[in-house]
Symmetry: C2
């Protein structure tokens, strides 16, 4: 489902057919991240078919210059789009891709128009699991990009190239941060998908997966589905808005007769035991409100991730914890719980930061991988440019998109591609 | 319920009346730990009423000498018993205590026979919450001992004084360890009650609560009760014996099409997302077996505790993680999961160790607190003695019990009490 900015929040559109219609026949480049629960797609559309025009119609005037322009490169102006599907409904994704003219005009086709030559960059476990399905149904070969490498490349791209991408969430308020490029590394990247990966990022392509936990988004959704009969992750999240976790959680005050446990710094309202209240109550599942259960579950998982993230940040002396993955979904209570957990455990030393395109790190990273020198594929890297605080931040890397996020969560940008790649000629022709 | 050694495991007897009968009118000292889910009681019975005889009838001959005996001290031979009740059934506990002759002959009575002068050492939040109830129903004042202090005192006592108290659990086998007294500190004490406390222990009364998590025994029982309709923690634990967590958890292989994610060291059988499988299945709670749910839940919580414990041990350079609390209950799968988690994350550097009297650290610690110099109460400390590998290990501390664990999980011991305390005269008389 594509995401739209509604009341300052990225919301999902819920119609695949609408999605297909919106972006019909525009895709020139596409990368896919197939996780345990969700399929995330990033694609670049050129607005006008296979344009080589330098002008991006939606870009403000001051962002239209082409740095480092030379005869060996051509510029495609257009937009990066972000789409997701449930992995369990992979047919929707297949239908979506099938509706596109990848076979005729994709950045991935080359040398011939036969379907068996189409390759798209793909990451996540599903790039392995569903490789045969993509080949069979779409004639597409999934060109696998390592998952952690993709996450890191995606996060680095967003942090460096997209204005107002990162923000803190404190006391119910977002504060957008423009991180100084010289002070970006190292940081802890925490990607919360079905499970959670924690990666120490030291630079471009310099990283190490240092930890993780199986208590992630899949746990929230899976347990939540069993406990509340919710039909979707978003429904469960919505439900948690209305809930009160104190009905389900055993608080310090429940044990201490309403008192704080001051000596170890635990207020009476602190959770002593998640889901501990049913222990001493003669009530069944049906006697509890689904919204209270959803709230308690969200709190338990967010808290736990915040704590493990902090412990890993501490271990490597990292002050900045950057969270991605589709668990967060710009959800106030989730972000608040994680922020408070990191603040509580680190005594204010470490900061949790969130990303507007949180769920698409892997897919974006796979997209960036078209730069990898494979003659079949297109280069895609950042253009060197002086950072501007009010627009895009770019750095040393050559070749690139220049980016500007528009109102739908999509990113207006230019894609610079080398003329030496045959694929480019294909794209021009189509 | 009292615990009995059955097939090498400490099992619970399930009749309060049997318990009351077993130990009627023998209690000379008693301490209580009232947690969110369980009440734990440690009491000392003298076998023969208020004996001052040096001979403990159940002790082997070689353990009957009385070191440092002097005229100012008297010796009580007897046994430490361990009993627990559910906090939600506190009436059972009240009935149990009421059946005892605490009012006439408790270590806690003194100066007069009026009920309002009885004091017993108590710890845990319930020492605050239920103080009025104990006063009203039993005329007992709960003399509060700080919870962390109690846990540490209890753990140190067991590690130093009780032979074969600590063990590792690796590959389905227990290996009992006798820890060198000179190499005991520092260690990480992880007490898993309803919630979890993690304490860095540096010596007697030298400790710091460094971490904790709300995902503990109360979470296992509370969530398990909602998901499986089990009536007790033990029933839920029993159920998990038969379960298969792979039916509920999303494994790495489920995402990667049966493959390992070798690059980051995750086997295809590793859990990627706890409870992640229902996400992509069109099944409701009733369609899953309760035993599979119980198993998955136990694995999730044990794993998580093992991981957070390891991260805290790492933080302070502690090689030894000692686990207590009633969550573990000598349960093979729990211990195995925690041990494997600690081993996995620490790459074999840290060790998880368990305690036979795991659930009674707080109550034992409160019991030890009778040594605190309060003239109303009795001293209880360890006697100096050369360690013997086949019997009890004792160390520098003066005044004491000497201990030997018998077949019922109770500990045969002698209690040395100062004659200068009036209470002792009371005890002698009754």
């Amino acid at each position: 489902m594509e995401r739209k900015l509604i009341d300052g929040k990225l919301e999902n559109t819920d119609s695949t057919s609408e999605l297909i219609k919106q972006s019909a026949d525009e895709i020139s480049h596409l990368a896919i991240d197939i996780g345990g629960s969700l399929i995330k797609i990033v694609y670049f559309s050129t607005n006008s078919k296979c344009s080589t025009n330098d002008e991006a119609p939606t870009l403000p005037k001051e962002r239209q210059e082409v740095p480092n322009g030379d005869l060996n490169h051509h510029i495609l102006s257009g937009r990066l789009h972000f789409v997701k599907f449930e992995t369990s409904k992979i047919e929707d994704c297949i239908n979506f891709l099938s509706s596109k003219k990848l076979q005729q005009c994709g950045a991935q086709c080359h040398h011939s128009h036969t379907v068996d030559k189409i390759k798209i960059k793909a990451t996540g476990g599903g790039a392995f699991k569903f490789a045969d399905l993509f080949k069979e149904k779409l004639g597409i070969t999934l060109d696998k990009v390592e998952e952690m490498e993709s996450l890191v490349a995606g996060a680095n791209f967003l942090l460096k190239a997209v204005n107002h991408e990162a923000y803190t969430y404190i006391g119910g308020r977002k504060e957008y941060m423009q991180i100084d490029q010289n002070d970006l590394y190292p940081y802890l990247l925490v990607n919360i998908g079905s499970g959670v990966s924690m990666i120490k990022v030291d630079g471009d392509e310099k990283f190490q997966r240092v930890s993780g936990t199986s208590v992630g988004g899949g746990t929230f959704w899976g347990l939540g589905k069993l406990l509340t009969k919710c039909k979707s992750f978003d429904e469960l999240l919505e439900l948690s808005h209305e809930g009160n976790n104190r009905v389900i959680d055993m608080l310090v005050g429940d044990i201490y007769g309403g008192m704080d446990y001051a000596k170890i710094g635990l207020a009476s309202t602190a959770i002593a035991s998640s889901f501990g209240k049913p222990v001493s109550e003669n009530r069944e599942l049906e006697d509890y409100k689904p919204e209270d259960i959803a709230r308690s579950l969200l709190r338990m998982i967010s808290n736990n991730i915040g704590q493990i993230a902090y412990l890993n940040a501490l271990r490597f002396g990292l002050k900045r914890i950057i969270l991605g993955g589709f668990f967060i979904r710009d959800h106030a209570y989730t972000m608040d719980t994680i922020s408070v957990a990191v603040d509580f455990w680190s005594k204010g030393e470490a900061k949790a930061m969130f990303l507007r395109h949180e769920g698409f790190l892997g897919a974006l990273g796979a997209f960036m991988n078209y730069k990898d020198g494979n003659a079949d594929l297109m280069p895609l890297q950042l253009v060197e440019q002086t950072p501007k605080s009010s627009s895009c931040i770019v750095d040393r890397i050559h070749n690139s998109t220049r980016v500007h996020e528009n109102e739908s969560g999509a990113i207006d940008c230019r894609l610079r591609v080398s003329s030496s790649f045959k694929i480019y000629d294909e794209v021009k022709r189509c």
